[in-house]
């Protein structure tokens, strides 16, 4: 069911160190589920965002020249995750950018983050599909039995 498992390994770019953990996709009949896993809730959110980017293109092939600040608040973790992913969808759409790395901090009901990326290059990134929005379908945020965190939902494409 899950695909494109990816271990985040240190590379020449120091940005890859920002997001420990891994991301994966899961199936939905018409669309795609995005799932992030990490040592903390914030890491899981950052990896879920990389899974979102991977719906369009390979997150590791996105440059790191520009940074965008994002902040959101929501009454619970699922609302916060969907809000967070929808803010990235919004920033991608209005700035014509793609983001491959995310630095996330969560305190209570408030998320602050930096999304790192570059403008869309139709030839180099060849983005497959636009994401319309993140949904509450299969939305789940919580700790796993081993103490790590998972954050997931289905996105509409």
């Amino acid at each position: 069911m899950a695909r494109q498992m990816e271990q985040s390994v240190p590379s020449e770019s120091p940005e890859s160190l920002l997001t420990s953990g891994r991301w994966e996709h899961f199936d939905h009949q018409a669309d795609i589920g995005v799932r992030g896993r990490g040592a903390t809730k914030a890491d899981a959110f950052a990896q879920a965002a990389r899974a979102l980017t991977a719906v369009l293109t390979d997150p590791d092939r996105i440059g790191t020249g520009q940074r965008v600040q994002i902040e959101c608040r929501a009454p619970d973790d699922e609302f916060l995750l969907v809000d967070w992913l929808n803010r990235i969808v919004y920033e991608m759409a209005t700035r014509r950018m793609l983001f491959g790395q995310f630095k996330v901090a969560i305190e209570g009901d408030r998320l602050t983050a930096e999304a790192i990326g570059e403008p869309v290059d139709a030839l180099r990134h060849a983005p497959a599909v636009e994401v319309k929005g993140a949904t509450y379908t299969a939305a789940k945020v919580g700790p796993e039995p081993d103490g790590s965190w998972v954050a997931q939902c289905v996105v509409d494409v």
Binding site: Q29, I32, T94, K132, Y136, T137, D156
Partner: protein
């Protein structure tokens, strides 16, 4: 889905008995084969919709139904404002007023064939498609609000098309009751450069050949002949609609408890029609409908320009324009009474019959064209609403083939380049900026659209008029 879970009403109609919190039964129109191909989630979602306050008669699913968000894709449900009925952002979906517009070219497919490559290139160069593409228009605040209030009428007034185009668009091209002020600054910014763009995913502009006529009289009324070339456009309200959906879904999900609404699934987010939030959403959603109508109108204008480069004699005139993600206030006869109901169609097409006040001229006599989008390798269909007055499922029919598998499964089975080469051998030219996008939309990833429309006809939802196959597909 196991048909054993359903009560069989006929070969084409199945019932979910009201249980638990369901206020009305569920009804699925499909053959046994189509039922077997449906995800169990369709059952769950049809049943969940049946629990919403103020739902009338039944929670319906069309033959192309598949697992959606809250509502199934292919879901139809009507609500009465006077009886505590709700409007649901989830019941309309993210791509507000996504729909299909078919346009006559005045050319035969055989006339196009020798210049097909040139026409495909001209369309691909003229019509912005794919992720990150920008339109030719930039709408700042005042123009944006005028577009959201006016729809296709706004576009025509600015030179994108002719007044007669509007007679062949639902709502005559302009949805009444739109409230641009209920649309957020974020939604408007997201749309600023997107009017006249196709988008991506399953959206497309195709040139199609009419390959089969099922009903001569209806085909004549619609101006369709065997081997005619038709342009078919499938797209919606772009970033603006997506942003409205996103924002109101959250507002409604958070407010549900205050309204005393228990949501079995957050995606069913809804608010009473007679509430501030319900009215605000209706105004924003209607503005989203106008955005989609303006978008398809501008794309039609661009298609006319591209055709003029290759076929100066071509005259592109509208067959019809239908939306399949909407909530509309309509009058219906229910249990012998005329009622005003808010009908949600999520991945379902309105199918008004002859005599409907929505229709003019030949269409008023024939019934509304129901335009069904297929895949880039199979068929699309034109159907007709045939039932005068209120037809089955509040006069609704299917909207497309419906996916049979996920995008992930599709990319495992097909490669984009190979799909493009194989279709080229069949005479279908694909123009796309993304090979992965093509693989995800491979024809085999969809249900058999012919089985879907046959089931729709046998169930009495709409009548088949013509089958069309693609010659050129510009993929979003």
């Amino acid at each position: 889905m196991d048909p054993g879970r359903l009560q069989r009403v006929s070969d084409y109609e199945w019932r979910i008995k009201p249980e638990g919190k369901m206020r009305v039964p569920g009804v699925i129109f499909a053959t046994e084969d189509l039922i077997r191909g449906m995800d169990d989630k369709v059952f769950e979602q049809v049943a969940n919709v049946a629990t919403l306050p103020g739902i009338e008669i039944a929670s319906y699913a069309m033959p192309d139904a598949h697992w959606g968000y809250g509502f199934p894709i292919g879901g139809v449900a009507a609500f009465d404002a006077e009886r505590g009925g709700v409007v649901s952002a989830g019941g309309v979906g993210f791509d507000i007023s996504c729909g299909v517009r078919n346009v006559h070219t005045g050319l035969s497919a055989d006339e196009i064939e020798p210049l097909k490559e040139r026409l495909a290139d001209a369309l691909f160069a003229t019509i912005p498609a794919g992720v990150g593409s920008r339109g030719h228009l930039r709408l700042e605040a005042e123009a944006m609000d005028a577009m959201l209030a006016g729809g296709a009428r706004w576009a025509v007034e600015r030179g994108y098309g002719a007044a007669e185009d509007l007679e062949r668009i639902e709502e005559r091209g302009s949805m009444a009751g739109a409230a641009p002020e209920a649309v957020s600054a974020h939604a408007k910014l997201r749309q600023r450069d997107e009017v006249g763009t196709l988008g991506s995913g399953n959206h497309y502009l195709e040139v199609q050949r009419v390959t089969e006529i099922f009903d001569d009289a209806l085909a004549r009324a619609y101006g369709l002949k065997l081997d005619d070339a038709i342009v078919s456009i499938h797209c919606g309200s772009r970033g603006l609609g997506h942003q409205i959906g996103t924002e109101y879904l959250k507002k409604m999900a958070m407010a549900a408890r205050d309204y005393g609404i228990e949501l079995p699934d957050r995606e069913l987010a809804c608010a009473p029609i007679q509430s501030d939030l319900g009215r605000e959403y209706l105004g924003a959603m209607r503005a989203g409908i106008n955005c989609a109508l303006a978008n398809r109108q501008v794309i039609t204008h661009l298609a006319r320009q591209a055709f003029a480069e290759v076929f100066p004699e071509a005259r592109l005139s509208l067959l019809y324009d239908v939306s399949h993600n909407t909530c509309k206030l309509e009058e219906h006869d229910v249990e012998g009474r005329r009622r005003r109901l808010f009908v949600h169609r999520k991945g379902a097409t309105r199918a008004f019959g002859p005599g409907s006040p929505e229709l003019e001229g030949d269409l008023a006599r024939a019934g509304q064209p129901v335009l069904i989008g297929g895949t880039m390798g199979t068929s699309s269909y034109v159907l007709a609403g045939t039932h005068p007055g209120t037809g089955i499922a509040f006069s609704s029919a299917c909207h497309g083939a419906g996916r049979a598998m996920s995008r992930h499964q599709a990319t495992k089975l097909w490669q984009g380049r190979r799909v493009i080469d194989e279709l080229a051998r069949q005479g279908i030219l694909i123009r796309s900026r993304s090979h992965r996008g093509v693989a995800e939309e491979a024809p085999g990833a969809y249900k058999d659209v012919s089985a879907v429309v046959e089931a729709a006809e046998k169930a009495g939802l709409a009548r088949r008029v013509a089958r069309l196959v693609p010659m050129i597909c510009v993929k979003g």
